[in-house]
């Protein structure tokens, strides 16, 4: 029976964007279930066990009605011929009072269980989300290159949601059904082994049905997921280009293509739902037939006077006595409940398969190797002693130094942070065998400006990614203030480098928050100062709430140029000695461009700067220009030198080559 899902992610999240959507829904690795349980125990051992105890008690209480009804039936049978209600009344009342007591307790247990489970489920999801997020923060950039944003997002939406389903529904359900089944087996054993065998035969038939139909259903659900993914990516592509569709009058053609994928989805969905739908009636009616089977078998046993083997017989010393009618009747109830429980487990089949696949994907993310950091040189506040040497300070001094412990002799030296960066014979490839950089050697002395020029894919961005160690070198060496950057702790290295990327990423929050991102303890004044430096102050004050204006969806309410200005201000407030700038190529209008340009220039003043240049003025002001082609520096020198050479740079400069 389809149940309305009440919980996070109900039909939400980028459907089909997940790995599932691409049709590769790999079967969960072995041990996934165990791992979920282990983590659950780790977080909520006490509460979870308590909840299970409540559930056991509740489940036991839930079996008692059968016994009570049987007892009442017995009483009725005995007093039936006397036709005297007043004689029977005290006995029946006794049973009823007992029933009330048991029922009240059962309800209490059930409520306690449900409340506990609410806390456990949501708490566990919260912890899992945090585990996943914390693990994700430590992953190297490489991971984000290799995995689509949609795929990563689906871990937080679809996969977490399957986990919720597992913890809040499937696990308790399995546990409960397990207990009920064991309990009922016990009762059956107590009353009649003969009839129990009949019940088990029926259950065997049900298991067969589940395996057959349930298996088909699960595999079709996976196909459906895949089809949804295809529809989604098709729709996304066309909707993105809807205006192009219009100007080319391509509406009918895209409708035809859409109908094709839509038809496939319909077919897959029909099959998946079909098998899920028929499982219920099949199981239910096998249960009904089992009911009849027991009735006939029971009557046959009685009619034939066959011996009844039971635990109670063993206890009361009448093992092998005749089968009683009341036993047959209670068996009919038990059989109904028994098949109901088996059916319940069967209904969980799909969601357990899906949940384990989801949990597995979450674990895979958590198991990714975090970004390695073997550095030991740290960046510290320093103060200068009269003799010119440095020592560590415990407060902000404005002077920074590299604290360099030497393993060999146990001494610690301090090196002033100056911003001297040198690359020696650097080789690098993203994919083995495909060199992106080859033999790159360059140096930037403190305060120098180095410009990179070259076509897309020439390796400009890659060089900057190596300096801040988003990736590790294949060969060669990079030294920062004379220290090999692999010895520097990554966070400290990155703190000493400011970055303004071409694609601006702003975060939900106020303009002020976004600027402060560069230096979390910056005062409002510092942030405003930085905004002024970046030429952003004017437009910010013209925003409806000035610095308190909320930015959402990556600053959608701002223009491209304005977003760039904020990102420059963000880098400015961090005030690092070395800057990496990636100039934007997108065409912004001349006036904003001039503002951005001035902002960038102000930011570059007095710093070592690596700039991926798209503007002539930037290049012309550089101390050295590196012209890159297919990962190699093919020309280097000042603007005047290179113009004189009349080589590639000259052609680029005069516009005869495509820059981007």
């Amino acid at each position: 029976m389809p149940k309305p899902q009440m919980g996070p992610g109900m039909g939400r999240g980028p459907m089909g964007k997940g790995p599932g959507g691409k049709g590769e829904m790999p079967k969960a690795r072995k041990g996934t279930m165990g791992r979920v349980l282990r983590l659950l125990m780790e977080d909520y051992k006490g509460p979870f066990l308590l909840a299970m105890l409540f559930m056991t008690l509740y489940s036991l209480g839930n079996i008692t009605p059968t016994i009570f009804i049987k007892n009442i039936t017995d009483v009725i049978e005995r007093f039936l011929s006397g036709r005297s209600w007043s004689d029977a009344r005290p006995e029946i009342m006794n049973i009823l009072i007992l029933m009330i007591v048991v029922f009240v307790l059962t309800i209490a247990f059930n409520y306690a269980f449900a409340r506990l489970m609410a806390v456990i489920t949501q708490g566990f999801l919260d912890k899992m989300r945090k585990r996943m997020f914390n693990a994700m923060q430590q992953l190297p950039i490489k991971y984000f290159d290799a995995h689509g944003h949609g795929d990563i997002m689906s871990h937080y939406t679809n996969d977490i949601d399957t986990l919720r389903q597992l913890v809040s529904q499937s696990l308790p359900r399995l546990f409960q059904s397990g207990i009920m089944l064991v309990g009922m087996l016990g009762i059956m054993l107590y009353y009649s082994v003969n009839l129990m065998v009949v019940v088990l035969v029926g259950v065997f038939g049900m298991t067969f049905a589940v395996k057959h139909i349930g298996g088909k259903s699960a595999s079709n659900f996976i196909r459906q997921q895949k089809a949804i993914g295809e529809v989604e990516s098709f729709v996304e592509e066309i909707m993105n280009g809807q205006k192009v569709v219009k100007v080319f009058c391509h509406e009918e053609a895209s409708q035809r293509d859409f109908d094709k994928v839509n038809g496939q989805l319909c077919e897959a969905a029909t099959k998946a739902t079909r098998f899920a739908n028929i499982l219920g009636p099949v199981m239910g009616n096998i249960g009904n037939m089992l009911y009849v089977l027991i009735a006939i078998a029971g009557s046959a046993f009685i009619a034939l006077g066959a011996a009844n083997y039971s635990l109670s017989g063993l206890i009361h010393g009448n093992f092998g006595a005749l089968l009683e009618l009341s036993v047959v009747i209670s068996f009919l109830h038990i059989a109904k409940q028994f098949t109901g429980q088996v059916n319940g487990i069967a209904q969980q089949f799909n969601s357990i398969v899906m949940a384990l696949a989801g949990a597995d994907r979450i674990f895979r993310l958590m198991d990714e190797a975090p970004e390695a950091d073997e550095g030991y040189v740290t960046l510290v506040n320093a103060e200068e002693l009269p003799d010119g040497s440095l020592r560590e300070a415990d407060h902000r001094t404005g002077v920074w130094a590299w604290r360099h412990p030497h393993k060999a002799d146990g001494t610690v030296t301090f090196e002033r942070l100056r911003g001297d960066v040198r690359l020696f014979d650097v080789d690098f490839s993203y994919v083995e065998g495909k060199k992106v950089l080859e033999d790159v050697t360059l140096w930037a002395e403190p305060g120098q400006k180095i410009a990179f020029v070259g076509a897309t894919g020439a390796g400009k961005t890659t060089i900057t990614n190596l300096i801040n160690r988003f990736y590790d070198l294949e060969d060669g060496k990079i030294r920062y203030d004379g220290i090999n950057i692999t010895k520097i702790k990554k966070p400290d290295l990155r703190r000493s480098l400011g970055v303004v990327l071409q694609d601006v990423n702003l975060f939900t929050g106020t303009v002020m928050d976004n600027i402060r991102y560069g230096k979390l303890d910056a005062t409002d004044e510092e942030c405003i100062q930085a905004a002024k430096l970046a030429n952003a102050h004017d437009f910010i004050t013209r925003l409806p709430q000035g610095y308190d204006t909320m930015l959402t969806s990556n600053g959608a309410n701002l223009s491209q140029g304005q977003r760039q200005l904020i990102s420059i201000a963000r880098a400015a407030v961090a005030d690092p000695p070395v800057m990496i700038l990636d100039e934007a190529t997108s065409s912004i209008d001349t006036r904003t461009e001039a503002l951005v340009q001035q902002g960038m220039d102000a930011l570059m003043k007095g710093r070592t700067v690596f700039v991926i240049a798209h503007r002539l003025s930037t290049v012309r002001n550089a101390d050295a220009i590196m012209v890159l082609d297919h990962g190699k520096i093919i020309e280097r020198g000042s603007h005047a030198d290179l113009i004189e050479q009349k080589g590639t740079y000259y052609k680029l400069y005069t516009g005869a080559f495509e820059l981007e």
Binding site: N262, G284, P491, I643
Partner: protein
Amino acid sequence: MIKKLMGCIRENRKHTILTPLFMLGEVGLECTLPMITADLINSIERNAAMTDILRYGAILVLMAMCSMSCGILSGWFAASASAGFAKNLRHDLFAKVQSFSFSNIDKFSTASLVTRLTTDVTNVQNAFMMIIRIAVRSPLMLIFAVIMSIRMGGPIALVFLLVIPILGFGLLFIAKKAMPLFKAVFKKYDRLNNSVQENVKGMRVVKSFVREDYEKQKFATASEDVRNDFTTVEKLLAINNPLMLLAIYICMILIPLFSAKVIISSGGSSMQVGDLASLITYAMQILMSLMMLSMIFVMITISGEAARRIVEVLDTDSTLTNPAQPITEVADGSVDFENVSFKYNPDAEAYALADVNLHIPSGATVGILGGTGSSKTTLIQLISRLYDVSEGCVKVGGVDVRNYDMEALRNQVAVVLQKNVLFSGTVAENLRWGNPNASDEELVRVCKLAQADSFITAHPEGYQRFIEQGGANVSGGQKQRLCIARALLKKPKILILDDSTSAVDTQTDALIRKAFREELPDVTKLIIAQRVASVQDADLILVMDNGRVVAQGTHEELLASNEIYREVYTSQTKGGEDDA
């Protein structure tokens, strides 16, 4: 809303009707089963002959088989009906979007349309199946069970009068209370996921500023906030089950009590022992149906939001329609603007374009310059009637564009959009968007004009090279040249380039313009550009500022007379001319 959605059932009508019909059969059998079962038990009680028992047994098995068949058929039809319904819904939605005009498209974001076509449709599909199955099943079950229990237990059935309201109101009350809470917490949950997305997208920024711990802290706070809210709602829902149990147990206590009294005092004549068991079974059925109904209530309310979003699209009519007697022939490539004013939103105060008067003779080359927001794009979009003017009229070939058949007009006025897109498929497939019947030679010809042939053939797969979604595997300049070639394939009388060579180098840009001049002398060419160099040899240059054409003339004329033009020109050529 319901009517609109029902319209999507169409060819699935048969299955949609059969589903509840077979469900009716299943429920009917399921409800009579306990009655026959009672007869069976009674006959066992009476120590009836084995043949009697076997007869009842046979009837029961037969009924179970029928019930199973009905159940299977109902489930089977429900699956095809709901999947087919969803298919039609998606088809209609997609078709609707295809009919949208530019201003319709502006209204809906791509992401929201994708959600409507996928997640929202799935939600409505689930609700639809729920309705044709369970919403039929539960009330039927309820009615059957109530009737049967009255027949069997007589006045004892009055117990239900006590229990049903308690349960029904209780469940409704909880559902009503939980609903707004749910909506609120879902919003929060969405926000949480958005912030994750932001984090993932901005990972380089996070790492550059070493803000991993800060981000963890931020996420933890948001995640805990979501946890607390969800826990509150789920605690509220935790009352559901105990309430249900309460109702069941009340029946379990009262029914045996009253039955025992009736059975014993009548000596089993007005009611038998077997009836007691059946009565309890009916009680369970009644309560279960109520439970289901309350769930459906919740489910439908939730999917109501999705349905509303879908219908919003279906109810949106294109703002542009073909005239009654459309003209299908475009005489020539002349363009006239007569007192044209335009605003995107009729309620807006300011015009995006005001008082434009232009005459562009067929075959002329026109350059358009101006800063962002000066409405260059707006101006050219009126020519192929992507939007309708607010005042005045735009004429192509001497005829008001509103009198043309839109497809005929757009085939003669080719626009290379600023935000242009290539689609996943081969180069040739992408080009043939311009003309599905174009020959291979024709493709090569236009690609040569657009200076695209050389880089296409430089790739080993040439015209069969696969272009990834959005043209991700070609550079910006190459993409623009492909887009130009695609437009040329239409053989238009008017060609409009909206900043379409911004990423193309100046030399290639010049070659493209030269090719246009020499090979397409009769085509009217309108070129929006950022670079003065791209337009300076045009027959006519328009300078736009703030929604108005502030100056028009040739390069020399404007250089002499127009401040803005001169400013842009000097700023762009300063660098190059000093040194070169």
